[in-house]
């Protein structure tokens, strides 16, 4: 283990680190938006859309990101659709994350006790009002734990971007190993890199989870 080697590699890793963060952020944001829309289609049982969303969720959840990326990146150009690696990565992450987020939101909405919906109805709230004042605030709070888990999960999945030549953290490490053969050093930096992102994030998310839960339900 040589500190000098680690130090020399840090600028390269820094680039990968920032790229991992940027792509994660974009992908997660997109996944949350897509997931929310999908879960709303399901919650309101919108005909046709609901079926499409159902099929999408199954397809996305039951295939590996790696193959999704290969298919988008190497396969689709074969039928004339060529997207840049970054676009493919983000699309892949959104495609994968959207279904996880959708299930997270749906879990939250379904978790609202029926008695809450009924007492909303009993004071004459319309469907829209019920959604806005009862379903949304409570469902959101209930889905936070699942969303938090998904965020961590998606950040880790960005490591698979290495297969489409995106120089994120993992790709950087593998590349350096192939160039200079200091396997131990580079793997150490790699693990530490992910730890720097994920450990604080998971602490923050847990804290946020408690706060929102307490703010909404008081337990």
């Amino acid at each position: 283990m040589s500190w000098q080697i680690i130090q020399q590699s840090l600028p390269m890793f820094q680039k990968g680190f920032i790229l991992t963060l940027q792509m994660s952020a974009l992908g997660i944001l997109g996944a949350i938006i897509l997931g929310l829309m999908c879960s709303l289609c399901q919650y309101f049982k919108i005909p046709v859309l609901k079926q499409i969303v159902g099929a999408y969720i199954e397809l996305s959840r039951n295939t590996p990101l790696l193959i999704q990326l290969f298919f988008i990146y190497y396969g689709l150009p074969g039928i004339g659709l060529k997207l840049s690696a970054y676009t493919c990565g983000i699309i892949g992450l959104i495609f994968l994350g959207g279904s996880y987020m959708a299930e997270g939101f749906s879990g939250g909405f379904d978790g609202i006790p029926n008695s809450q919906i009924e007492s909303g109805k009993a004071i004459g709230l319309s469907q829209g009002q019920l959604t806005r004042y009862v379903v949304f605030p409570q469902g959101f709070a209930l889905s936070i734990p699942a969303l938090a888990a998904n965020i961590i999960f998606l950040i880790k999945e960005t490591s698979i971007f290495t297969v489409i030549a995106i120089p994120e953290l993992t790709n950087t490490a593998l590349d350096l190993i192939g160039l200079y053969y200091h396997t131990n050093e580079y793997l150490l930096v790699l693990v530490v890199g992910y730890a720097i992102i994920l450990i604080p994030l998971s602490i923050i998310l847990t804290w946020l989870e408690r706060r929102i839960r307490y703010g909404t339900f008081g337990d």
Binding site: E118, I123, L125, S126, Q129, T216, F217, G218
Partner: protein, 244 residues
């Protein structure tokens, strides 16, 4: 004595299982109708049918002489006129007490915030909880929550109230406060349909008792007679079991 609510030949089944069978009765303005019956006899289901939370297969409900067309939209409008309080104290945990109470008046009845809050305060005062407006449901005891739930229903100035075992989940010591409020409402001639297991209380407020068994109305007897002299053996048995 004007008729407020009339139910005719109501039938309701969950899947194949009939739960309410040929239910007919009338409630007049200012009257307290108590619904009694063993567990599973269909009391909650009946109450829930009466404000459209459960669809029913056949039968008609008349409200103030008007036949109700049981569409979701119609029920939504009617529910402002029908207050309901459940067994579980289901205040909205994400809203404070004031917002819980004024949500309906402001959003549904489009009252001004000021009016709604003033009225909420007045009602909170009558149940002795005027200081609790800024608190959240989680900070209240079960009995307090249930009193707020009653206020929330009353804030819409309903024409009548449905109560489904509102004291059943309360600690014994909390029960009295809630029952007192209901007794007061009865005194003020609020029309009410009340499901309860508190026999003493039922006896005290019932103008009339509907006794349900297995989805049927076995008897409909004036309150003053039912508890001392029920017409059916089944009701006699029931009263005995309630009073070990």
């Amino acid at each position: 004595m004007t008729e407020l609510l009339r139910v005719e030949h109501l039938n309701k089944a969950y899947g194949e299982v009939p739960v309410l069978q040929d239910i007919s009765f009338t409630v007049n303005t200012g009257e307290v109708q108590v619904v009694l019956g063993p567990s599973g006899s269909g009391k909650s289901t009946l109450i829930r049918c009466l404000n459209g939370l459960e669809p029913y297969q056949s039968g008609t409900i008349y409200f103030q002489g008007q036949k109700i067309d049981p569409t979701p939209k119609n029920w939504q409008l009617l529910r402002q006129k029908i207050g309901m309080v459940f067994q579980s104290y289901d205040l909205f945990p994400n809203l404070n007490i004031m917002d819980n109470i004024t949500l309906g008046p402001i959003k549904v009845q489009k009252q001004s915030k000021a009016t709604a809050q003033k009225e909420a305060l007045r009602l909170l005062d009558t149940v002795g909880l005027a200081d609790y407006t800024a608190k959240f449901p989680r900070e209240l005891s079960g009995g307090q929550k249930q009193r707020i739930a009653i206020v929330r229903a009353l804030a819409l100035h309903p024409d009548f109230m449905l109560f489904d075992e509102v004291t059943a989940s309360l600690d014994p010591e909390m029960v009295r406060g809630v029952l007192e409020i209901m007794a007061n409402l009865a005194k003020q001639k609020m029309t009410m349909i009340v499901v309860t297991h508190e026999m003493n209380f039922a006896q005290q407020i019932a103008d009339n008792v509907l006794f349900l068994d297995d989805g049927h109305i076995l008897e409909s007897t004036p309150g003053k007679d039912f508890f001392t002299n029920p017409q059916t053996d089944r009701a006699k048995e029931f009263l005995q079991s309630m009073d070990f």
